[in-house]
């Protein structure tokens, strides 16, 4: 239980998807113009992470790992193709479910929902999860030893991403009123803002839980 909580908190603040690993940067920069849409995208990303990472964890440990499917065969070189197929499939599924049961949210998210399939945050979380399986849970608070850890990691990463995008959107809404040099406007200043936010988040790196 302790390990679960520490993994969860670490993945929100210390191993933040945006500020520590730059994952999901494209949609992060493109969608963070207003707080409302960025909130919707953040929730959708969190949800997709929450579904794909445990599924990929089970695939990795039950199907792809050494000696899992066939004795003496290590299929982990297929991980890239299989993970991306799972992600694309689940995003499609989520899209259909949201369309059926929450048409209002579906209309709000629009094109961003299918685009989650190529959001690097999702693929990145699966690949980090794959690396962390080999760590020892006794010594490292980043280790992912069972499917609950995978769920905690996915939820934490998703919430960290949500926090980052809503924060940036709020800053950008205010920044619309400031006088920025012309060539720096738009993208340039956004990058520098994110850099300063990342610097602020760096102070969490000493956090020991």
């Amino acid at each position: 239980m302790e390990h679960l909580i520490s993994l969860f908190v670490r993945s929100i603040f210390v191993d933040n998807m945006i500020f520590a690993f730059f994952l999901g940067m494209c949609s992060y920069l493109a969608v963070s113009k207003t707080v409302k849409t960025s909130m919707g995208l953040g929730v959708a990303v969190t949800f997709v992470l929450l579904v794909t990472v445990p599924v990929d964890y089970l695939l990795q440990t039950k199907v792809l790992g050494p000696d899992c499917l066939v004795e003496g065969v290590d299929l982990s070189y297929l991980a890239f193709i299989l993970f991306i197929a799972v992600i694309a499939g689940i995003v499609q599924l989520v899209e259909m479910i949201v369309e059926k049961f929450a048409p209002a949210l579906y209309a709000q998210l629009g094109i961003f929902l299918p685009l989650i399939a190529v959001n690097c945050a999702i693929m990145g979380a699966s690949l980090f999860m794959q690396q962390r399986i080999e760590m020892d849970p006794a010594t490292s608070s980043q280790a992912i030893a069972n499917v609950w850890d995978a769920i905690a990691y996915a939820l934490g990463s998703g919430i960290g991403w949500l926090l980052a995008i809503v924060g940036l959107a709020a800053i950008r809404e205010k920044m619309a009123y400031t006088d920025v040099p012309r060539p720096l406007q738009g993208l340039g200043i956004t990058f520098i803002t994110v850099g300063l936010m990342a610097m602020a988040f760096m102070c969490f790196s000493g956090l020991n839980i």
């Binding site: 070189y77 190529v118 690949l127 520098i192």
Partner: protein, 207 residues
């Protein structure tokens, strides 16, 4: 139609500067930021993306008339994922240290927006040879940004380039210090921001 007509030259040259995928189109930022703390991984990453973009473009351009429109994204993803798997294995075999440094970012080339962007916008409408040039051009445009940012970060952050010491020992004795901030993730964002600023200021008259 000649192999190096004006149009083909345009497809190759424009992404290098005026239409740079990172600075102008803002694609493929994730990996551009993450791998640039040193020059060597930045170069390897740039070359890998160039190779993958070029060949994915060729394959999709060859298949473009047979791909059903509804499932084209999945087909593109599978082609890219297969190429990335090959590149990742080659890196592990011939440049193991760099591949450890790049860690998950090699796998993340699959979700690099430059690839999907070029496949959708160019390879689906053009022939294999034009697509090949377009892929090489975009890959090199991406690599160019990586090399610039990687050079600045490694030179100021650890005083070396490609692992060779550039700033002389005497400078350290006079009180010069490496800027540890440069090796942190935050500075990558700020440097890319400044790069975009400079790029836009220089190319202002074209807009």
């Amino acid at each position: 139609m000649s192999l190096f007509s004006a149009e083909n030259k345009e497809a190759f040259v424009s992404p290098l500067n005026l239409n740079n995928p990172v600075a102008v189109q803002v694609l493929g930022i994730c990996s551009a930021l993450a791998v640039t703390s040193q020059l060597e991984p930045a170069i390897v990453m740039g070359l890998s993306v160039t190779v993958i973009t070029a060949f994915a473009n060729v394959i999709i351009a060859l298949l473009r008339k047979t791909i059903p429109n509804r499932i084209r994204i999945i087909i593109q993803l599978v082609v890219v994922a297969a190429l990335v798997t090959i590149v990742s294995m080659v890196l592990k075999a011939f440049a193991y240290d760099v591949s450890v440094q790049l860690s998950v970012y090699v796998g993340l080339i699959i979700t690099n927006c430059i690839l999907m962007g070029r496949l959708e916008a160019f390879a689906m409408q053009n022939g294999p040879w034009e697509s090949f040039l377009d892929g090489i051009g975009n890959g090199l445009g991406y690599a160019f940004v990586l090399v610039v940012v990687g050079t600045i970060r490694e030179l100021l952050g650890s005083g070396s380039l490609l692992g060779f010491r550039i700033i002389p020992e005497a400078a350290y004795e006079c009180g010069y210090m490496n800027n540890g901030m440069m090796t942190m993730p935050a500075m990558a964002l700020i440097l890319v921001g400044c790069f975009i600023w400079a790029h836009r200021a220089i190319n202002k008259e074209d807009k």
